[in-house]
Subunit: 196 residues, 2 copies
């Protein structure tokens, strides 16, 4: 078999492990925690469905590729809860190392392309990377809304922490912001979020 | 909130249910059955990674959208095992009804677009629909290879049944076919598939 296809199939088998990485969020029926593969699928559909709300012009294929692969680094580095107070530097280093290993399974042209997509997501350094971040921040809000915020409650998350985390939505997809504000207002009133 | 965004967010919450639809396939570490949401995520990455093997020119964004939404009908209609011998007509009717209900949650332009993508996947009536079928047939083979074929063994699946099911790979992505043939050869020799 050609080495190129062999490398691609090895990569595609390796990333199956993302299905075993658990996030803090629950799935909509609250029966269990969401895993990072199904989260990434949801992001792909959200991106296609809400592309019209991107403030800057974006190449939707690039956005979708980005959200599909943005969490692969968790295969080596694990998932970090969004409101984990521990220092970020160690996480950044762990994830960069993971990106180096995983994307290096691919042929060189694809390694370069996908590594760059992941980096642009991390840095928010391209319009597509920024809109992928919008989608990655929005989808958990849909789940918090659906489940009644049990994860926020359990971790005593403050409204101000959520506002800081999802601020990219206001900047890069302002038409979605009123929905976010209304949700946070309701979540605070109903005690899902600490009013601080 | 504008009715359009309201409808889109309702759709995006509804499709979360795909995470609870279980397939026959196991995930790579054999710990549990794969669900249709994480299967659809895997298909998205496989499509991006192997697009170069499409025999006909394809619009990759259309292919990726298609694989991300191709199984949504299972939310209402359930998953059907690929080698289920029961008549197909009832399944086709159930899934068409499901497609009508689910995509009707979307604004009209998106309803039409996504319903058409799903139909083209079912019929194989476009180059993108056919390549999406290639990806949908190939990904389970990657998992059978990774897990040692326990699902084929449990259902006593025949090699000829698999060949009939995955034939679209030979037609629409012939460069991938030698890998499929080698896998089926090995699977038959090692008793994962019945030699018939």
């Amino acid at each position: 078999m050609p080495h190129r296809l062999d490398a691609q199939l090895e990569f595609l088998a390796e990333i199956d492990k993302l299905k075993s990485i658990l996030r803090q969020n629950l799935v909509g029926d609250r029966s269990r925690r969401e895993n990072s593969a199904e989260h990434s699928w949801h992001l792909g559909v959200v991106a296609c469905c809400l592309a019209e709300y991107a403030q800057e012009p974006v190449d939707l294929l690039v956005v979708v590729k980005t959200v599909l692969i943005h969490d692969l680094v968790e295969i080596d580095a694990g998932d970090t809860f969004s409101y984990d107070p521990s220092p970020k530097a160690a996480k950044v280093a762990r994830e960069a190392e993971a990106a180096n290993r995983l994307f290096a399974l691919l042929p060189d042209d694809q390694r370069r392309e996908w590594r760059a997509l992941w980096q642009a997501f991390e840095d928010g350094s391209t319009a597509e990377g920024r809109f992928a971040r919008v989608i990655d921040r929005l989808q958990p809000l849909i789940l918090h809304d659906l489940t009644g915020g049990p994860v926020w409650k359990a971790h005593q998350v403050k409204r101000s922490q959520v506002v800081a985390r999802v601020g990219v939505i206001e900047t890069c997809a302002p038409a979605l912001w009123p929905w976010v504000e209304a949700l946070l207002e309701r979540a605070t009133r109903d005690g899902w979020l600490v009013d601080a």
